[in-house]
Every structure is written in C-alpha cells, then in structure tokens.
C-alpha cells in the first residue's frame, strides 16, 4: 500500500506520470466523474486549514467519491487523549483513504505505520506538506512548459518555511535548475538544504534584497516574513519592505517570470500585483485540486484504469 508522506515518495518518473494524469483530469473532468463512486475520503484535520481541507474534499467529490472527517482537533477524540495510531486504526474501518493534517511533526508517518488505508500527509507541523509541493511544481510546469533549465528565486522566510525547503529539494532532482535565495540573514536557508545542493552540484546564490535578484528569475516564490521571527522590532521594520513585492519591483522582472505563493498572503504581495499576468498564486489553488485528484487515484490504485 502506498502513502504520500513527502514529495520524494514519488520518483521523478512517477511525478511526471502524476502531472500528466492531473493534466487529463483538468482537460476531461467528465471521464473521471464516477471513478471513485462508493469510495470515501476521510479528512482528519487535527488543526484547522480550511483551504487544504476543502481542496482535498473537492478533489474527492469531483471523482464521484464522498467525504467524512473533522475540521479541527477540538472536535475529535484527540481532545480525550486518543493517539494518532488509534485514531487511524479506527478511521481505517470507515474510509478508503485519509488526508491527515496535524500540528505535530511526523504525525502522518505514525498514521501511515498503523493505517490499513493510504495516507496523504496534508501537513504535519513545520515538517512536510507534499501536495503543496506537487501543486507548486505542477504550476511551474504548466506555466514554463517543463521543470528543467530555470532560475528559481525563493524570497522571505527561508529558515522556517517548509514549503520552500520541500520545493528546493524536489526541484533539485531536475536538470539545469539554479536557485536564488532572497532573505534577511536571520531567515536564511538552513544548512541541510544548502548541503544537499552542494552535494548535487546545484548552483545557488544567497542575497538580501529582492530588487537585486529579480531581473534574473524565471520563477519567484514568495513567502511571508513574520514579525515574531525577528529578535528585535528595529530589524523587522528595517527589513520587512525588502520582502514585499509590488509592481515597481516586479517591473524589473522578466515578462515570463511568474510569481507563486503558498497562501495565505498577508502583505508580502501588494494587491496591485494580483492583476499582473505573472501573478500565479490563485492558479496554484486551481491546479491543487487536479493534483490532489491525481494523488487520490494513484494511492487508491485507480490511476492505471484510465488511459490518458
């Protein structure tokens, strides 16, 4: 039985197949409208994340399946002290597949160990969020026509942002990729990510100002710089505007440099950027549903039933 705990659970070839399936799900939704008839997805959200939960639920409903679950930990037996292992053993009796979101890192790994149904890690604390990474990659692939030969800039909180670590690790499996890490010193990319890039001989540079880096980028992945990450208020005030994308900064970018963001956005992308054709963050949400449909089909062993 297969689970999706980290993006690396799929090989490069399997990831390619997954994206092709997502393309077909987007192009021919009617073909798949009943493929999951009679099957149930359990969304076990021990912490609330409305967008991720609704995206998974929409994906299952689009495939003809149905959905059970809970939207936050305080309405589940976790409040009575039930372990993840016991919860998933019980849910395995009700559903055919489960998407689990949990504030503790490694919760999905534990669930997968005890589960008799496939598990999708829908975010475990600051650790992994593989469907986010896959939808980021699918967005890049759709916009750029592939996943090779490009310069990807990642901007903002690179120290604590799990989406950026995961995206860098996943994109480093493709050829001709170069990274530019744009962050204050306090929020630089951690060593284990840069060690991995050095081991794989993948070029990267680290800069502190978005303006300096933006002209060379093919993709700009924005994240939020949070006030509480700084040691003092002065540093936050001094640095925060460096990491806000507005039309002025974006005017220095290439005409096909697309802007991604894992959302929710607060103020790191000015609303004026939303109308720019390079703003791709709402497109990510759209592709996210197709990618999650493809993941559900793959984990349920139904992906091979349809030729695409």
């Amino acid at each position: 039985m297969r689970h999706l705990l980290t993006p690396q659970d799929f090989t490069v070839e399997e990831t390619r197949q997954l994206f092709l399936l997502a393309d077909d799900l987007e192009a021919n939704p009617g073909k798949y409208a009943h493929i999951c008839d009679g099957r149930k997805l359990a969304t076990l959200f021990f912490e609330p994340s409305t967008r991720t939960r609704l995206s998974h639920e929409t994906a299952m409903l689009n495939l003809g399946g149905s959905v059970i679950g809970f939207p936050s930990g305080n309405v589940s037996s976790a409040t009575k002290g039930e372990t993840v292992a016991d919860t998933i053993r019980v849910i395995s009796c009700f559903a055919d597949i489960a998407a689990i979101r949990h504030p503790k890192e490694g919760a999905a790994t534990v669930a997968a160990h005890y589960s008799t149904i496939p598990i999708i890690n829908a975010g475990d604390g600051g650790h992994q969020h593989p469907t986010q990474t896959l939808l980021d990659m699918q967005t890049i692939r759709k916009l750029k026509g592939g996943l090779t030969g490009m310069t990807i800039g990642l901007c903002g909180d690179l120290k604590f942002g799990r989406t950026v670590h995961s995206l860098v690790e996943s994109m480093s499996r493709y050829s001709g990729i170069r990274f530019v890490f744009i962050s204050p010193d306090e929020l630089k990319m951690p060593d284990y990510v840069t060690d991995l890039l050095r081991d794989r001989h993948i070029p990267y540079t680290e800069v502190t100002r978005l303006e300096d880096a933006i002209p060379e980028l093919d993709i700009l992945y924005m994240t939020r710089v949070q006030r509480e990450r700084f040691f003092n208020e002065e540093d936050y005030i001094r640095l925060k505007d460096f990491y806000v994308l507005d039309e002025k900064k974006l005017s220095r970018a290439k005409s096909d440099c697309y802007v991604l963001h894992p959302l929710p956005r607060v103020n790191e992308i000015a609303p004026e950027v939303d109308d720019d054709p390079r703003a791709a963050y709402f497109l990510q949400v759209r592709y996210g549903v197709f990618v999650r449909e493809a993941v559900i089909l793959e984990l349920l062993g139904l992906a091979g039933d349809y030729q695409f």
Binding site: T83, V84, A85, H102, P103, K104, E105, G106, A107, T109, V110, D124, G125, G126, H127, Y192, D195
Partner: protein, 147 residues
C-alpha cells in the same frame, strides 16, 4: 607493563580515544550487566599516543554494537571465543538506531505520544548525521541526556 587477565568469551574494545572509556561503559549499558569488565585508561598507543581499552566478558551476542558504532565507529572490536580472537569487527554506522537516542524537538509527535519508539536514521553518511524518523530533525550530541 600492566597485565589484565585473558577473557574466555566477550569483547576487547580497542583504540577508544583516551578518556572515553567510562562514557562507552555507560552507554553500552555495561553497568547493568552482570559480567566482568576491565577498564584500562591512558594505555600507550603507537597510533594514538594514548588510548582506552575495555575488556568485557559476556556472551558475544549480548552487546548492542550499533550503539558503539554510533558513538565512535573507529573503535576496534575484537570478538573473543574460547580465549581466542575469532573476529576483528569493523564498525559501520548503523542505518537505523532504535530506542537509544531521543528526539528533543518539542514539535515532534514522539514527544507527545510517549509510547512511540524513538527511531533515528542515517541521513548523511559522509557527515555522520542522524535524523529523527518522524520529524527529520538532526540529532545533536548536546541535545539529549544519553549521548
């Protein structure tokens, strides 16, 4: 020259960096075993200048050599049976360490669900880095109490 008697069955752990014998004694759990142990510290060594040696008389399947490999895989392990060295083991970093190290990441599921086994995997052999199987946080020696 100091003479310590031969052992019939057990291990001679050689080339322990000087001063580390008691540390290894503790973490191999030798204090909990009912067996004869000779601890030699600051022995002369051509290779190392000074070294420690541990001689342990016990059944040869009794020690968890994975723990020893994790502490220092350069230690020489001589396996003794019938008073003879039957094998010189070359220690290799274990792929996985179960129930020895503890994850100290407060956000890790293993810190709240206490019945879970603590498992670390070898993430980077070159840099000798172990990571928690659940949260992938790197094990740092000064993180825990045990090592």
């Amino acid at each position: 020259m100091l003479n310590v008697g031969k052992i019939e069955e057990g291990f001679v752990l050689d080339h322990i960096p000087a001063g580390r014998a008691m540390y290894i004694y503790k973490h191999l759990g030798l204090d909990k075993l009912d067996c004869m142990v000779a601890i030699i510290t600051n022995a002369r060594s051509q290779q190392m200048g000074k070294k420690d040696i541990l001689k342990v008389e016990c059944p040869i399947d009794m020690l968890n050599l994975d723990v020893l490999a994790f502490i220092d895989h350069n230690i020489t392990v001589n396996v003794i049976k019938d008073g003879q060295i039957i094998e010189k083991k070359k220690l290799q970093l274990p792929r996985e360490i179960v129930g020895v190290l503890h994850c100290n990441n407060p956000r890790c599921i293993s810190t709240t669900e206490r019945e879970l086994p603590h498992i670390f995997y070898l993430a980077d052999e070159k840099r000798e880095i172990y990571r928690c199987k659940y949260c992938d946080v790197k094990y740092e020696e000064n993180d825990g109490e045990q090592f």
